[in-house]
Amino acid sequence: MILIDRNTRVLVQGITGREGSFHTRQMLDYGTKVVAGVTPGKGGQEVHGVPVYNSVKEALKEHEIDASIIFVPAFAAADAALEAAHAGIPLVVLITEGIPTLDMVQAVKEIKDLGIRLIGGNCPGLISAEESKIGIMPGHVFKRGKVGIISRSGTLTYEAAAALSDAGLGTTTTVGIGGDPIIGTTFKDLLPLFNEDPETEAVVVIGEIGGSDEEEAAAWIKEHMKKPVVAFISGRSAPKGKRMGHAGAIIMGDVGTPESKVKAFQEAGVPIAETIDEIVELVKKQLG
């Protein structure tokens, strides 16, 4: 598995809000080590037994923290991610949807310069099956196994993980990278980690229309990937110029078309599944 395991100590920013509180409970139930929470102005409270602090720095005085998950509302979400990064938390997972794009341009640049890994925004987070989940996905569909998943979609990821789990293949780590145009981590940032992870035997890449992250991933795979990869692309019948739910799922002119993504994967020798069930078949075939 990559990035997180059962020992990863987690901070929840926005822990006293509805979403933050709900998912803190869910993560604790999954076995995630949630050690602290932050809501500015609400320090001293507890949420599900987790102590709440006024700032990330204050939380760090009392706890060792490896990762932070952010449920702060959109207008303040990028600021919260910057707070975590400047405090030196090495992994920041930004769940919030609807963050102003220029806030993300600034935050992604600054956080990268600090050498911190940012996942999201507008993402479901990540999960190492039966170890730890730092996210909002339904934990029970992820059975421990040998396939890594990287995805721009939430629900489709759960579908794929469930199908892989039902087929007995199971998953190692699954990362939902988010549906926004400007995100902290893309496919090509994570492929090297899976490539080096001894537990991961194959990787499923779930892309969609918009941008050229899939094309860049395909280029990396062609050059460096030692393990089989199976790709899936949603939105193949979507009309041009329409935003399909995700802010980043839009074909603009000639950029972001499914044809270009299919071609790039084909040239990299990556088989493309037409349906979710076919993902399982192709992974099986690739693993022999």
């Binding site: 629900t155 739910g245 002119g253």
Partner: protein, 378 residues
């Protein structure tokens, strides 16, 4: 959110970019009055949220106020790509020596705002990108520093623009300031004109705003024109759904943008035509599903509905309850095909037993079924 040309130009003018003198007119009489004030040849331009206005006859010159009135009469009320022209911009016609392109877009790959400048202006920039990509200079801007004058001057030189270097660079610097100032997604000047007198003017402009940042710009948020959007898209917005009206006849409803896109793909693959994209989001309760079905039922194009749910945080039994409520109230009058899996799948199936809903175990089987039904084969 798209802005009209005249609104985009008002923003550019506020940031100090020269635009031709002009005003918006809602009647031919107003157009004549504005033309009289300008006192020179004017151009009359339809203000609608579609490209290709010129080709559709929505942009015309007028030499006199009387002619302006006549031309405005023709353009107002004109239908351009399904949209009725309700206002025109009446502006001084520029004496064009050179036409350039300057635009700012958000670039996913570099994760930056990128300045694009080309000496081939006045035409569709996507066409230039396809046929003559080296004619476009692209410059990613560091968000910490913004676009500095020396960088702007280099862009102008690299792009081979002819004219006053400092003035051209100044337009680029100001365009970036405007982009950031209003939280734009896209801002372009096309053409950026050098007049015969050597003046630099933004003759046409386009700005799309970032919807996520509209809360910071209440004055701009007010410019949203609901009549320019599909009425069902407005209603969906009020419910908080991600909804896109499409041209087919199968209503699609699902949880999660990726799953809904996939569902559209499947329906297309088996020969059907989706009527819409509708994502009810994560954790939807029964009333949300009920509202979604109410919305789909208002679309006369919808001849059948395909509900595709993978329960995660969303519980399939909540979805079932919403469907049952809509059925009991007689809201849905077309066949419903459903595929549910995941959290509370069994509870959902039990609830739906004996209800007039066709259940299928997989997405692809459900897709085939709904297509067969609306095509009248079942």
């Amino acid at each position: 959110m798209k802005l009209h040309e005249y609104q985009a130009k008002e923003i550019l003018a506020k940031y100090g970019i020269p635009v031709p003198p002009g005003k918006v007119a809602f009647t031919p009489e107003e157009a004549r009055e504005i033309a009289r004030e300008i006192g020179k040849q004017v151009v009359i331009k339809a203000q609608v949220h579609v490209g290709g206005r010129g080709k559709a006859g929505g942009v015309k010159l007028a030499d006199t106020p009387a002619e302006a009135e006549e031309v405005a009469k023709k353009i107002l009320g004109m239908n351009i790509k399904g949209l009725t022209v309700k206002k025109v911009l009446v502006a001084e016609a520029a004496e064009i020596a050179k036409e350039y392109y300057a635009g700012l877009i958000l670039d996913r790959s570099s994760q930056r705002v990128v300045m694009m400048v080309s000496r081939e202006g006045g035409v569709d920039i996507e066409e230039v990108a396809r046929e003559n990509p080296e004619a476009i200079v692209k410059y990613p801007i560091d968000p910490d520093k913004g676009l500095r004058p020396f960088e702007a001057r280099q862009i102008v030189l690299d792009a081979g623009l002819e004219g006053n270097l400092n003035k051209l660079a100044d337009v680029l610097v100001k365009l970036y300031k405007a982009y950031v100032g209003v939280d734009a997604f896209l801002a372009e000047i096309n053409p950026l004109v050098v007049t015969r007198d050597g003046e630099i003017i933004a003759v046409d402009a386009k700005i799309d705003l970032d919807d996520n940042a509209l809360f910071r710009h209440p004055d701009l948020a007010k410019l949203r024109e609901v009549e320019a959007e599909h009425p069902l898209e407005i209603e969906a917005q009020n419910y908080g759904f991600a909804y896109v009206k499409l041209s087919g006849n199968i209503g699609i409803l699902g949880n999660g943008a990726g799953l809904v896109m996939y569902t559209l793909d499947l329906v297309n693959r088996v020969g059907g035509k989706p009527a819409n994209f509708l994502d009810i989001g994560g954790g939807a309760k029964a009333d949300v599903v009920y509202n979604a079905l109410k919305l789909l039922s208002k679309d006369p194009d919808v001849k059948g509905i395909f509900i595709n749910i993978f329960g995660g945080i969303t519980r399939a039994d909540e979805v079932a309850k919403g469907v049952i409520k809509a059925l009991e109230e007689g809201i849905v009058k077309v066949p419903i095909v459903m595929r549910v899996a995941g959290t509370a799948e069994e509870e959902a199936k039990k609830l739906l037993e004996g209800k007039p809903v066709y259940m299928y175990p997989t997405s692809i089987e459900a897709a085939k079924a709904i297509v067969a039904m609306v095509e009248g084969k079942k």
